[in-house]
Symmetry: D2
Subunit: 368 residues, 4 copies
Amino acid sequence: MYIYTMGCIIIKKYNNRRGVNLMINVSVLGATGYTGQELIRMLCQHNQVNIVGLGTQNYAGKPFSEIYPHFNGIVDTVCKNIDDPELIEDADAIFLALPHGLSVPYAEAAVTKGKRVIDLGADFRLKSPAIYTKWYNKTGPAAELLNKAVYGLPELYREKIRKADVIANPGCYPTTAILGLAPLLKNKLIDTSFIVIDSKSGVSGAGRGLVVSSLFSEVDNNFKAYGLPNHRHTPEIEQELTILANDDIKVSFTPHLLPMVRGMLSTIYTIPNKNTTLSEIQKAYHDFYSDETFVRILAQGQYPHTKWVLGTNYCDIGLSWDERTGRLVVISVIDNLVKGASGQAVQNMNIMYGFDEGLGLNRVAIYP
Amino acid sequence: MYIYTMGCIIIKKYNNRRGVNLMINVSVLGATGYTGQELIRMLCQHNQVNIVGLGTQNYAGKPFSEIYPHFNGIVDTVCKNIDDPELIEDADAIFLALPHGLSVPYAEAAVTKGKRVIDLGADFRLKSPAIYTKWYNKTGPAAELLNKAVYGLPELYREKIRKADVIANPGCYPTTAILGLAPLLKNKLIDTSFIVIDSKSGVSGAGRGLVVSSLFSEVDNNFKAYGLPNHRHTPEIEQELTILANDDIKVSFTPHLLPMVRGMLSTIYTIPNKNTTLSEIQKAYHDFYSDETFVRILAQGQYPHTKWVLGTNYCDIGLSWDERTGRLVVISVIDNLVKGASGQAVQNMNIMYGFDEGLGLNRVAIYP
Amino acid sequence: MYIYTMGCIIIKKYNNRRGVNLMINVSVLGATGYTGQELIRMLCQHNQVNIVGLGTQNYAGKPFSEIYPHFNGIVDTVCKNIDDPELIEDADAIFLALPHGLSVPYAEAAVTKGKRVIDLGADFRLKSPAIYTKWYNKTGPAAELLNKAVYGLPELYREKIRKADVIANPGCYPTTAILGLAPLLKNKLIDTSFIVIDSKSGVSGAGRGLVVSSLFSEVDNNFKAYGLPNHRHTPEIEQELTILANDDIKVSFTPHLLPMVRGMLSTIYTIPNKNTTLSEIQKAYHDFYSDETFVRILAQGQYPHTKWVLGTNYCDIGLSWDERTGRLVVISVIDNLVKGASGQAVQNMNIMYGFDEGLGLNRVAIYP
Amino acid sequence: MYIYTMGCIIIKKYNNRRGVNLMINVSVLGATGYTGQELIRMLCQHNQVNIVGLGTQNYAGKPFSEIYPHFNGIVDTVCKNIDDPELIEDADAIFLALPHGLSVPYAEAAVTKGKRVIDLGADFRLKSPAIYTKWYNKTGPAAELLNKAVYGLPELYREKIRKADVIANPGCYPTTAILGLAPLLKNKLIDTSFIVIDSKSGVSGAGRGLVVSSLFSEVDNNFKAYGLPNHRHTPEIEQELTILANDDIKVSFTPHLLPMVRGMLSTIYTIPNKNTTLSEIQKAYHDFYSDETFVRILAQGQYPHTKWVLGTNYCDIGLSWDERTGRLVVISVIDNLVKGASGQAVQNMNIMYGFDEGLGLNRVAIYP
């Protein structure tokens, strides 16, 4: 098996788990979903990574480029059955890009063998088994394994990510909501009893599954809310906001489906505390994200377009201060497949292995 | 000049202003904008209307079908200069589909000659000259004329519309917000200090003007908020909600631009009063709209898609009751060019002249 | 069962099969596909038609408006199983909007009971059983039934359609190709050995079936050719062109998939005979279509946009004469779901029952 | 002035015009058009290039990232007036991304100062001043300068490009047509009197200029041909095909506008010579492009989607051999802004300066 690693001269194999700037071997389980193939796009342009295995449920034996012909001549690797043990054995790090609820056994097998796991699904995101069961209607991972998992939002948990065995890569909606609210909650600048998160997502977030609601003729020139009132990203958002605020937080969260492929925007309504000023708020954002590569706070009066981050790992945030009503509206955008999924996963991997945090993450949006 | 009136056998001319079921003559000033041509689409399929003049700022002397070739063989009428006095003289009712701020002199001229006016712009919507001046940064119509104007939302003001000389046809965003909230406010079911209106509109609402932000390459696969925090539809929404609630109301209102041509959806967040039940709320909606042709309250758990009303005059409303947070989310959709502009104008005309309220308003959405 | 027939006062039941201007009863088998629901949109706005039954393969027992909520309050009829005999018994005319290959038994049952059939599928389009079998890889209808079928292109076969028991409603691609070429072939103006038909279709033509290639994320911002070199509409095009030219015709035909829902455009390359002039060609088109309601020949130098016919039954045709190369390019557009399917079916029904040919066919395109 | 050159450690300045692997300084005139900003996207990710100046007609004095905020924090360089002499003086290579007809004086000034020019416009593409004048209706560059220009299609003219002072970067349509036909013509495999090129382009090719035909509401869900019968890319195509075939070639060329941003597909109809076999044709393509990085010949039966090359410099080519009609259909796709403009310009620069031909050209398409 050969994978063409773009622009990468393979000099030596990874040989030291906590080593810096060494080549590592990775495999992707669930390679043929949209997040899987997006991950492979980034990994094959990452000069410290060697892709050693692609696991799929339905396409074992087929070259990856037959399923996604834009990889013709780039990644022609033959896919393996997702249960092929080589996928774990040959790799240092294993990415799980599977439908929710399927990750646990693979994560367990990998950790048992001393491998590190980055799970793009929801199985390890909620700390409370009871909450997981309530919202996902099933039992989550065993406590021992769950306790090894770190919520993979680098802007909040970078140090823990560095040493983690299992990364629970955040959901796309939570990424926009948490990054949008973190400076406000951390600095106790708003009324925590009033938070409305109105989110809109491109369709690629629904994956490649065959459902009527993902057909072009149903989505194009159409717009709708869905999943009301209990979308499964709600407890994930509340868990992290509660930690940030050190106060029990409940939010109104409504997801919507945009007639476009990629991009996500959350409009977040808050009530700043009395006496809080705009400049105090701005300072809170700039301070909180001053060292972050992938969060850009926009100039006052500028509000982000989803297209400004298309194909990139950026989260762009704009602030609207309405003196008339005493409200602050925060608008945050990401590419749901990048900072909302695969890009964040690569960022986590870079942190775990001591690489430059931006490696393999293409930094300029495709425009127009 | 000849206009082909589809399916309409022209039997006699209008001869009695308050008569019923008689043919009327109408003209459209601003015929070549998107709302203008949409109006003409409806009027030329309306069997009680004779279009006697089309006025434009830039295309005088050209056949209308040269500007909009989908009217080839249907409306080939030569456009007149917008200031041609025949446009007013020949008509019983004059539609003004002009950019905001230009309607007043035409409305004045028409009313002076005993004609009736339906203005699709904003100039007559706000009752308070001071508020108009504050938000539009200019002086509005004289008090005498302004006092003749009725806010043309049939579901609220049908009786006044019947006899009005000037109709201030509502804005698109306000139509979704007011229809979405009216039953709650009228029945005092919610906390009036907390209302968030998060609205999303198709691009056709921006008209045919040449600006970078309306280019295909800028809009497609893109999504953004705009006009924060002070979009001009805000005071219009607040004026009508205040009347409904009999209580001073301020709202958080954020408009967004969808990558699609037609359709508008507002997600409205409210806090129901303690002890208010879902069935009480549902009953309020059903009672309020029980006799309305163009408002459809969806079954519990069903949330409207904008495409369900594409090309129609419907406003579809869905309710999401979230027990966990004690919030009620109202979702209302319209076609911004129909119930949000030209269709509502025709509905108003139908009421003014005693026609069946649905005449000329095509009732089944184009799907998919 | 009740169907709201819009704008239609039901005065009496159909009682004379060949009668003129009498109400008829119709049923639709395959009501829940895209062409089925489009047919119902037109039929429920047709004032001489009473819809008495909707048959479906998967949704029996469900209200039609549950499957397509844009029909809420308009067509709430409960669907029947497609094999329910009442669907045929209760109707005068039966529309078959089924996947290719399924129509024959229903057509047979209907004709046996003295009913008339309009089949929107391909089963009755090809006169030659051998050609049918070669391209569709199965046996077609029995000769006796096939011989009762008329190819339902009104511009060519209006008189035969009037009396037909079975209408083979044309395919969408053939409609653009045949209408685009008919005047040239009938008048022997071009070299019949050189015809290239390059066609582009919106995605709705692929129906509501669940396939990866119809997903929004695959179609949006994408364009491709498909079905090369042997798309099944080829023999249908060649059959009709051969009849028109009275000469054996083979064409190069390439279909493409556009990233849009509705609309079809064919670019047809021809070599006019020596000495043929542009004005001769223009005259041929104008003469050929002079009495047609639904074919519009554009002014010289004007080329049709698909959007000019969106939601309408029009076929717009433009001609480009290139003196430099001696070629004539014909461009024809339709709405694939209207003139390319359901609208043409209603036009055929109107002819069959002596109604005004335009009844129920909404004549102004939705724009923009 | 500072430009962040991504992933690029600036080690030393360019000091040897024909040197290998040395840093060069470049400027872009016309930086704020779509091709200009696309060029900058690629250049700022190219590790051998230092962007020293951005020239614009309308935005002098503004940071580039204010005009295109997706460059926030990446290219915040202040734009200069396009006539600022520093733009030429400070650079080794000057990219001209200007509207057609404006390049000559800038190219002249640059060459006079010993600089090298890559012109993305049409001014240097046609070798014959007479043909240029006929199609562009103006006088082209002086003969002396014109003779220094090389047609910048690397697959045909790599050796000449290496030493050229002026590169005439090919048009987007010609790139698809010429690459699609070159192996056939070079090997004399087809009838040169019959070539039909039916091309379809995304809207970004029309640039950021303000015209009604580029508005979202006009383009979305719409499709049309344009520029018939004499689009200006015709003589460019014919010039190169004539050289390849060593035979005078005229083509039928029809461009169409797709409702999408990026991507171009040409469907090319040809008649292979008698006795020519499919395997002979396939071999011709594989041999012709065997050493090319950016041309991919697809497997037999596979036809390219435009999205397979989105954001990349690839040209993907598929072949359809129709035995029934004796025709060969060639389908070629590119991203019109990359291989059709800015990517090809960077590829030319890489050749001119001896860099790896793929440097700065992101190689995996963004999908979906």
